[in-house]
């Protein structure tokens, strides 16, 4: 694992460098309190888990973080700068990329084009460049194409590069979404239930992929219901229930927390750490 090089101007907590700090995040939908006063910090190079029962506010937190919803209160500080009232595209430009719980690929475009679109925010060519096709534009197009193909290989769906995204197998679609998000060169990759609907083999290879992404220096925020995956890969875990933070800490600590067991697990799901 390669932790980011220490730099003096980044505020530090416990020796690690904070990439994302959330304070007092609050969101209401009519009478429903989706999030109330949620605060947490994610360090550089971490895999940070976000768990909680259905309706706990995990996806709402994602949507507030990525600018899809405006929060009613609280603030995010990302990489040393406040992240307030930003549109989703500005958030992506700042370096937060996400996937969606119910996969949102560009279905009628090829897998390769999906990833090429992810390069949009890091490239420049405009209308004139597109029409004139000058040397700079051609070079940029080539670079987009090559990088997109590399990312498809990286997540393991290069064999389907030219197939329509909607025709890919479910697990491949999840991987393609990750490749598309990586194409935006994120510092923080936010994954909304990437293992949902995957079988044990697919989940195992997803776990390897997440480890590889972290190894490349990308911090990961992970919403997941697959406890085995969360407990085995996350450095720290945040537990939400009814929009409130009920626990935060290492996987081992969280699973012993009586509040977590009572509120979320109800004793039915085993939180045993899988043998490593």
């Amino acid at each position: 694992m390669t932790a980011a090089a220490p730099s003096p101007d980044v505020p530090a907590t416990g020796g690690a460098h904070v990439l994302l700090a959330a304070r007092g995040i609050t969101k209401r939908f009519g009478g429903v309190q989706a999030l109330s006063d949620v605060g947490f910090t994610i360090n550089h190079g971490e895999i940070y888990g976000l768990i909680g029962p259905n309706g706990a506010g995990k996806t709402s937190l994602f949507n507030v973080l990525t600018g899809i919803y405006a929060p009613d209160g609280g603030e995010f500080v990302f990489d040393g700068n406040p992240l307030m009232n930003m549109k989703p595209n500005e958030v992506a430009r700042r370096g937060i990329a996400r996937t969606f719980q119910n996969i949102r690929l560009f279905g009628n475009l090829s897998a390769l084009e999906n990833v090429m679109i992810g390069r949009h925010v890091r490239t420049r060519a405009g209308v004139v460049g597109a029409i004139v096709r000058n040397a700079a534009t051609r070079a940029e197009e080539r670079a987009i194409h090559e990088r997109a193909y590399e990312l498809l290989e990286y997540v393991g769906v290069a064999a389907h590069a030219n197939r329509f995204a909607k025709h890919l197998a479910y697990g491949d679609q999840r991987r393609l979404e990750i490749a598309r998000a990586l194409a935006t060169e994120p510092k923080l990759l936010a994954l909304d239930e990437p293992a949902a609907g995957m079988n044990a083999t697919e989940t195992a290879s997803l776990k390897r992929l997440l480890a590889a992404i972290r190894g490349d220096g990308v911090t990961i925020l992970l919403i997941e219901h697959d406890m085995k995956l969360v407990m085995s890969i996350c450095d720290r875990v945040l537990v939400l229930d009814y929009g409130k933070k009920i626990a935060e800490g290492s996987a081992a600590d969280v699973q012993k927390d009586p509040k977590v067991i009572a509120a979320y697990l109800g004793g039915e799901i085993s939180l045993e750490l899988p043998a490593r």
Partner: protein, 358 residues
């Protein structure tokens, strides 16, 4: 490697195809003129429809924004030309100055339409754009008082034809002993413009901007999450589409010599949309084919329905105009039933990507 030979073979075939098409396009107006000058005019109109359909294809086909008021931009281009090159204001600017002005103003109107409709999609957007198209037409109808700008429903007449140097596009000239009529000259001018318009469309589609349009069409939320500024990219689609409409409008003015608000009704907008949908939304070649078919088929029916009835029944049973539109509508229904994605659906792109990788 059979693939290699295949690729070389295909390339040679493609070039042969280009040469054949070029020769056909070059001699086409003279061949048509043998049948009747009307057919050259019909061809010119078809090319104008190709411009319009390609412009609308950017908005509807690429960016997925349903626009029912597209003809308004055609009207803007047409009126800009008419006002700047007619006795109405006694202005007679040359066409290469007016066409860019018309395109630019249409562009501005595109942004004017786009800005308030950014949050709308599908049916809602269609209704707002429909209203916009009607507003423009009604404005043109009524801007005769208190200051006479558009001359109202009477329209503007005696619009200057295109002139390049000594060549007047409204008159017949002898070139190397061959009589070249006005419509034939316009045909070549339109053909040149069409090549440019098609090239721009093809290149735009296969570019960073074109992909961003397609991303917005496929899933706007995901497009934004990927860092695409959907507001700007949608406005750009409206502006680009509108400017093509503006150019087509300018040429329409010059060719017709007379325009009135009547030419820019809702039916025209629907017709252009039908060309895009019939040909294959999002596919440049399909859209061109759709525009050509929908411009020619009604005209061919006009000239065949009457003689056909006389030959079969010995007399005229139905008015040609009635049966023409009936057959036309029937053809559209059949098309949509059996090829809902259009004559040439937009999957050509996939093959193109494959061949580039190989």
């Amino acid at each position: 490697m059979p693939g290699l030979i295949d690729a070389r073979h295909r390339k040679r075939l493609a070039w042969a195809g280009v040469v054949v098409v070029a020769i056909v396009l070059a001699i086409l107006p003279f061949a048509l003129a043998q049948v009747g000058t009307a057919w050259v005019r019909i061809t010119n109109t078809a090319i104008l429809y190709v411009f319009l359909a390609l412009g609308l294809n950017i908005v509807v086909g690429f960016a997925g924004l349903l626009d029912l008021g597209y003809i308004a931009f055609y009207a803007v281009g047409a009126y800009v030309y008419a006002l700047l090159a007619s006795p109405h204001f006694n202005l007679h600017l040359p066409f290469w100055i007016i066409l860019p002005i018309g395109a630019a103003l249409a562009c501005v109107f595109g942004v004017l339409l786009g800005t308030p409709t950014l949050k709308l999609r599908g049916d809602y957007l269609a209704i707002v754009t429909l209203g916009f198209g009607e507003i423009i037409r009604i404005f043109l109808n009524n801007l005769a008082r208190p200051v006479n700008i558009t001359n109202g429903p009477q329209g503007i007449a005696q619009i200057d034809p295109v002139r390049i140097g000594d060549i007047n596009f409204a008159t017949t000239q002898q070139v190397l002993g061959v009589a070249v009529t006005g419509p034939i000259k316009y045909y070549y001018l339109l053909l040149l413009l069409m090549i440019a318009v098609v090239a721009i469309n093809v290149r735009l589609q296969d570019s960073r901007i074109g992909r961003a349009w397609e991303a917005v069409r496929e899933d706007e939320v995901a497009a934004r999450a990927m860092g695409i500024n959907t507001r700007n990219i949608k406005l750009l689609a409206f502006a680009m589409g509108a400017s093509f409409g503006g150019v087509a409008g300018g040429m329409f003015s010059a060719i017709q010599g007379f325009i009135s608000p009547e030419s820019f009704g809702l039916v025209e907008s629907v017709m252009v949309l039908a060309m895009v949908v019939l040909g294959g939304m999002g596919n440049v070649w399909g859209v061109i084919l759709g525009a050509i078919l929908l411009s020619f088929v009604p005209e061919i029916l006009r000239y065949t329905v009457e003689p056909a009835q006389k030959a079969i029944f010995g007399r005229l049973l139905l008015e040609p105009e009635v049966i023409r539109m009936l057959l036309f509508g029937f053809a559209l229904v059949l098309m949509m039933l059996f090829r809902p994605a259009g004559i040439v659906p937009s999957s050509v792109r996939k093959r193109e990507l494959e061949s580039r990788r190989a």
